[in-house]
Symmetry: C2
Subunit: 253 residues, 2 copies
């Protein structure tokens, strides 16, 4: 029985494989330092450009597809690294996750830009929806939730939140595993948004190069930013241990 994944018809399986080949070819292009283009992807697959339109409605959709899969693949990588620490040590896992995220962003700035710096118009609801299923978002929210379960750090009560923000944390439009968080604990999502903003900020600054290269090399800006969050996450007691873990992963780069 040759590894049945879905009860898909033959044609459907073929189609799925073609999608895989599309993102594989795109990933190759990016790794080679070439720009991502519809025509180049088609050529690499031995297809003519218009053929790709059977799979993707526009160049933008190709980009979104590739971005989604790159995010997924990268997250799997961070997750694997994080799982060197046991499931009952989510703080260590988060430290590894953050540092791995940065390592990836610095190693593959073009891929990072594609996934995380790609402008998304407020009006474009389709592309917004794509955002909500981003794998990396789920990875980080889940870790934050586990840390809270263990360390019970404080977060704002719903009543203390701005009404608009309250709405946003109750029914998030951002990537997050929030379904299992009871509504009254959704203040946690605010902590998530704020910490993600901080992490996203340094990493974007460093990955796009709008920063002194020596500062990037030293990793101090990133390190300081992450360490500032240990307190708010109730991890003060773990400071030394987590710092060591962080430095170890950063050194791997």
């Amino acid at each position: 029985m040759p590894h049945v994944r879905l009860p898909a018809t033959r044609r459907e399986r073929q189609r799925e494989a073609t999608y895989d080949e599309i993102v594989a070819s795109a990933a190759e292009l990016l790794d080679e330092g070439a720009d991502l283009s519809l025509r180049a992807v088609a050529a690499k697959m031995g297809l003519t450009a218009p053929a790709l339109y059977r799979y993707v409605a526009s160049y933008q959709q190709l980009v979104d597809l590739v971005a989604f899969e790159l995010d997924k693949a990268a997250t799997a990588q961070w997750q694997a690294a994080a799982e060197k620490y046991p499931a009952d040590d989510p703080a260590a896992r988060l430290a590894v996750g953050c540092a791995s995220f940065r390592n990836w962003a610095l190693a593959k700035p073009r891929q990072f830009a594609l996934v995380f710096a790609n402008p998304i118009a407020e009006a474009d609801t389709d592309r917004r929806e794509l955002l909500t299923v981003s794998t990396s978002g789920h990875f980080f929210t889940d870790l934050l939730w586990q840390i809270w379960e263990l360390y019970q750090f404080p977060f704002p009560a719903l009543d203390d939140l701005d009404p608009v923000v309250r709405e946003a944390v109750l029914d998030p439009l951002i990537p997050a595993k929030f379904e299992h968080i009871p509504p009254e604990d959704r203040g946690l999502m605010w902590i998530y948004m704020r910490s993600w903003s901080a992490l996203y900020g340094v990493v974007t600054l460093e990955s796009t190069g709008h920063c002194d290269p020596r500062v990037i090399e030293s990793g101090q800006l990133f390190r300081a930013t992450v360490l500032d969050w240990l307190g708010p996450l109730g991890l003060d007691a773990e400071r030394d241990r987590l710092t060591e873990i962080l430095d170890e992963v950063l050194a791997r780069r």
Copy 2:
């Protein structure tokens, strides 16, 4: 005497004017929502595309030129807004500056991406040099310096800094007015890098749209991020006043 600016020869003046027309045309294009392209700029000027190569060696250089001028123009705007508060109130000026920066980034996301999210390879020394003269950087470092003169907030001693970082603050490769800061006070630059990283982070997150639109609309993420920096900048006593100023500017959007 008709406004002599430089003892330039006739041709040089003509050339300068053409440069101005280039950035003006490019700015128009962006404001119209069209993409920036060499050919479109040329067409708008009534020129043929290759003619622009007399002024700019490549498309990338055109982008850099436009980015530089957009940054300059935008900074002038923030500065004008900030100067509604007196020179001896740099804290108020910084609050206005930060909020104006955000307002601009949200109002002109394409321009923001051009100036601040435009990837810069570490190797490209020419483009790196361009960064060091960016107007906005000078604006913010200057304000931070003035705030320090007035409030004397603490900053790390050179000896407490990572050696690589110490090098970077002593001889910065980033946009900053640092010449008048005595070497022993260059720890200030570290505070600048950290605070700029935080400001850049939220604003980029919001401007590129990788964020819940409702959270952007509320301004709470940005507000909270900025307010977190009042403490480190010695502005705790001014908290209420500065918050009011911040909210007033944010409401202008």
